[in-house]
Each structure stands twice: as structure tokens, then as C-alpha cells.
Subunit: 256 residues, 2 copies
DNA sequence: AGGCGCTTGTGAAGACGTGCACAAATCGCG
DNA sequence: CGCGATTTGTGCACGTCTTCACAAGCGCCT
């Protein structure tokens, strides 16, 4: 871990080393800190301690301090962190100093919700274009944006400077759409379709699959149920899976 | 997240406890394997090798084998895994042998999309009830379900056996809703509101925040941009932030 | 000025996750 | 029946992440 800093920072406020390569786990938490910080700023907090911020972000305070130290952000011992300064630093590191343009492909059920959501603006993004393959939908106006045909992607991508592509099409179309996005120079993709995308190196894909989230919850639910179902007296004795699956599930969610 | 163990296996009733406590990372990948397996099953594959399944799921094959070995699922050396059997085993472990009932609270922009999505059924879930606090929305029918007032949650939760609660309300209401869900016995919550929920021990919360996903992508985009802006000379010519944030961002996308 | 309480930043240790590489197991075939 | 091709299951080494615990720094009060 040989990361050199520029501790100089003479004169004016916090100087930030441009982009130390942060641990992925840290990067994933920074947005959470940022959101918490914005909340604090709105409630007129000037500074916040690592404990306080950690609480607001739902993490361990030591972890938070280590995360912040990673980006060279200096707090003040005995005092805490300057909220406004920290916001600036995190926003800079996350690349949010410019409002990034997002292209949304697939304006169906989910796409409508995303297109109609006005919460992205406050988080650093601007939905710049909507695309669909269905002629029925092309031309429709959502939130001030007109749905264009996906074939217009190259032209529009040239006009707007698209930074991120969001895929909200059925899984069957997702790979094709991803290819199209990549071919117009998009190097970051958020994919809602339940499938794996293959993209060239240098392109980042993040996936959001709601069913997977539910299934993970289901696992824990299942585990909790079988644990609480153990009367310590070797009761029903969970049926193993010898060959055919013999499943004996009695009670699941037992509140109180 | 402290997870308690019961390694002792007191009594040790015959067979393997059907639920060895799997590493969290494994649990998070099982749904992906399951989806890939269903795809394979539909294309009439009887068996699949770890390599093939790993490919379909977008992971390393050694990792996949280790994951599967965790759940005691045995493949056949020289052959691979029996697709149908593996589906059954994973579905059992994830607790999907029974279709779990999901309650959705907050039928707004996003809630509508979720309620209207028919893809959950095939993944083991049934949206059993919709709730909202807005009288305007109460009574509306979506996909065969009628939106009820959130005050009816206790009554409905008693009728249907709700396993999982999904929160799609504004952040300001999320904690209150979470409390209500917990109070009617829900121990698994999927939260779409951008805020941290505090819940009693034993209740699992997973959070989906789309803005966070975008911000993580933004970070990498930012990093890629500053990297490609470097003239390949070893020194990371960092653009410090002298006072105001001086951002030098030149080119974003790199095509190969 | 000095001491005191509070808070940061970080070393160290351990838990956890990953991926290589290979022995063991199985199948098909001659 | 034995052999080679194939593929699983896993020991091991390595890297990443988390958490504790505490010295060092800072502001404030006396
Ligand atoms: N709606 C949800 O709540 C939800 C939940 C989980 C996952 N998803 C996933 O999100 C994706 C979208 O879901 P949805 O419910 O909005 O589906 P949808 O069918 O309502 O919408 C899909 C849209 O994509 C468009 N489309 C199809 N092919 C296209 C192409 N090649 N280029 C551009 N547009 C194309 C269609 O015209 C349609 O408008 C699906 O993959 C779905 O599995 C949705
Ligand atoms: N729409 C999106 O694409 C999107 C994207 C990212 C995050 N989100 C988040 O998802 C959540 C919902 O977003 P949305 O766009 O659907 O908002 P919305 O305002 O359209 O819908 C919220 C719904 O919740 C209901 N509600 C409010 N308080 C309630 C309560 N106490 N009990 C029950 N229902 C209540 C409202 O009546 C409304 O119908 C928000 O937290 C938002 O930040 C949405």
C-alpha cells in the first residue's frame, strides 16, 4: 500500500489528489456517505464526526474513517469532518462535478418509471435521451423528453455526450442493445435485464436484478424459519436431500 | 451484520442440516446460477459442466464449483451437473419451493412498474398485496390486484402470509413503513427508498438505490477519463484541486 | 500555558473471498 | 478390462475487506 499523497495543500482549503485507485468496496460506499452528507447539510450541520456520519450511512465508524482517509480527505481531530468540504470531495472523486448524461433504452414498464423519476437530477445525473424499438412508443413524451427510435442512437449520442447507458429492455434484447451502446462509445452500462452481458474490456457493467434481491431475502427467510423451527428436541429433523428432494417446510414467517 | 453460528449441531439428527450456512457471497450468486440453469433447461440441456454454467452466469468456473460444493450438491466427475437436479437443489436452498408472498408498499411511479411486472412469478414470488397511503390510489386495480390503504396492512398480512415487504415510498415515509411491516411480522424487506432503515435484529433489509449504481459507474467513468488523459509517463500527474474544484476531463469513451 | 476530552488516522490481526492447479472420480471406447 | 479423456471437488496461497484499539492531533477551558 504505497500511496503517496500531496499533503501540502498550502493556503486554500482541501486539495485532493486526483484519483487514487480506491478499493472497490470503498467506492461502493461513497455514494451512501454522500447522500447522508446531503441530508446533514440540509439540517444545517457544519461538521460531523465519523461516528455521526457512520450512523447516518449505516456503517461502522472505523470503516468510514478508513474510507475517507483513502481519498485523502482530511477531517479535523477533535472536531470531525467539514460537511460541505466532504461533499465537494466525494462528488469530485465520483466524477459528479459535471452532470452526466444518461441514455435510457427500453421505455416499457420499468423504463417509464425511471424516465419519470426526478430524483436523479439531485444525484448528479440527467436523463438525456429515451429510446425504444417499438414504433408505438416512439414519439411519446415523458417528462419533457421524446422517445426516439433506437436506431437514432448514434446520431443522438453524438449530439448529447452520453456517459452512461441504462438498459431496461427484455432480456432477449439486452445484449443487442449493449452492443449498440458500446458501438456509439458508451463505456458504462446499468443493466436491468436479467441476463449477463458480454462487453469489451474497458466497459463497465452493473446489473440490478430485483428478483435476485428477493431470492437472497428468501434464502435468509428460509434459514430463519428452519432455525426457529428447531425445538432443540430434534423435532422434525430436517429432511436431507437423499435423491429426490423431500422438502418439509412447516412455518415460515412467525412474527413475535 | 453479525451472524450467529450453531456449529455444534447439538443432537445432530441424522442427516445434514439442509441449510449449511453458506458464505454470503455464495448466496448472492446462487440466484444467478439458477437463472442460467433455467435458460439451459429450456434449451434442452440435460447436464452442464462447471465451465459451461460459469460462462452462462458470468463467473469463474472454480468459484462456481466451490459454491456448488458448499451446498453439498454433487455433480458427476467427467460429466458435469444434472441441470434439473441442480435447479431443484438451488431452489430448495433459496427457499423457493414455496411461492413466497410479497407485499408492495408505495404504488407510485416505481411501485406501478413493480406491480405490473409479471416476471416475478417465474422466479418464485407472488405479489400478494399492494398498499399506499394516498386515498387517490387506494382502490385502483393493477394487474388484478387492488391497492389497499396501508392501514389495512395488519389485516391483510394476517390473511395472506406475507414473507417479504417491498418499500417503494418516498424516503421520508420509508422508516415508518418499515416499522409497520416489522410490526406485522415481516422479517425481510427490500427497500427502494434512498435512506437507511433501522430495524430490529433478525430482520433483513436489502437496499436497491439506482442513483448509487449510477454514481459507482460515474466513478469508473471518471477514472477511465483521467487515466486515458495521462501521457503514459509513469508519474500520475495528478490534477489537484487548488481551491475550487478544477476538473480536467477530456475524453470519456475509448473505443478499443 | 497546560491539561483534558474528544476525534481522527492507521497498524495489525483476523475474517472472508478468489483463483490456480491438481488429485480423484467417472465415463466411453477399444 | 483397462486406458485415456474429461470434469469435479478442494488444498493452498494470495489478495481484499473489516474491525479493534490506540497514539497523535486538535480545540477548549481553566
Ligand atoms: N418492471 C419491473 O418492475 C421489472 C422488475 C425486474 C426486472 N425487470 C426487467 O426490466 C426489463 C424491462 O422490464 P419491463 O417490465 O419494463 O418490460 P416491458 O416489456 O414493459 O418493456 C420493455 C421495453 O423495451 C422495448 N424494447 C424491446 N426490444 C428493444 C430493443 N431492441 N431496443 C430498444 N427497446 C426495446 C420494448 O418495446 C418495451 O417498450 C426486463 O428485462 C425485465 O425483466 C423489470
Ligand atoms: N421511480 C424511479 O425510477 C425511482 C428510481 C430510484 C429510486 N426511486 C425511489 O423509489 C421510491 C418511490 O419512487 P416513486 O418514483 O415511485 O415515487 P412516487 O412519489 O411516484 O410514489 C411514492 C408512492 O408512495 C406513496 N406513499 C407515500 N407515503 C406512504 C406511506 N407512508 N405509506 C404508503 N404509501 C406511501 C405515495 O402515495 C406514492 O404513491 C422513492 O423513494 C424514490 O426515491 C424511484
Amino acid at each position: 500500500m504505497s500511496q503517496h499523497r500531496h499533503p501540502g495543500a498550502p493556503g486554500r482549503a482541501g486539495a485532493v489528489p486526483a484519483l487514487p485507485d480506491l478499493p472497490e468496496a470503498t467506492v461502493a460506499r461513497l455514494p451512501e456517505y454522500l447522500r447522508a452528507l446531503h441530508n446533514l447539510a440540509e439540517t444545517s450541520h457544519e461538521t460531523v464526526s465519523s461516528e455521526g456520519l457512520a450512523n447516518a450511512a449505516g456503517v461502522n465508524s472505523a470503516k468510514l474513517r478508513k474510507d475517507l482517509s483513502q481519498l485523502g480527505s482530511y477531517g479535523t481531530r477533535g472536531v470531525g469532518y467539514d460537511v460541505a468540504l466532504l461533499i465537494d470531495q466525494i462528488e469530485y472523486v465520483l466524477g459528479l462535478t459535471q452532470r452526466r448524461a444518461v441514455a435510457l433504452v427500453g421505455v416499457g414498464n420499468l423504463g417509464h418509471a425511471l424516465a419519470g423519476y426526478d430524483g436523479f437530477a439531485g444525484r448528479g445525473f440527467r436523463i438525456a435521451a429515451l429510446f425504444d424499438a417499438d414504433q408505438e412508443r416512439v414519439g411519446e413524451e415523458i417528462n419533457g423528453l421524446i422517445v426516439r427510435h433506437v436506431d437514432e442512437l448514434p446520431r443522438v449520442a453524438a449530439e448529447e455526450s452520453i456517459a452512461i447507458g441504462v438498459i431496461a429492455t427484455p432480456a432477449a434484447a439486452a445484449q443487442r442493445v449493449a452492443d449498440q451502446l458500446v458501438s456509439v462509445g458508451v463505456t458504462s452500462i446499468l443493466n436491468f435485464a436479467p441476463c449477463v452481458l458480454s462487453v469489451p474490456e474497458g466497459v463497465d457493467v452493473r446489473k440490478v436484478d430485483l428478483a435476485i434481491e428477493l431470492q437472497i431475502l428468501s434464502f435468509h427467510e428460509h434459514r430463519k424459519a428452519t432455525l426457529t423451527a428447531l425445538p432443540a428436541a430434534g423435532g422434525p429433523a430436517l429432511t436431507a436431500l437423499p435423491g429426490g428432494l423431500a422438502v418439509t417446510e412447516s412455518q415460515e414467517a412467525i412474527g413475535t
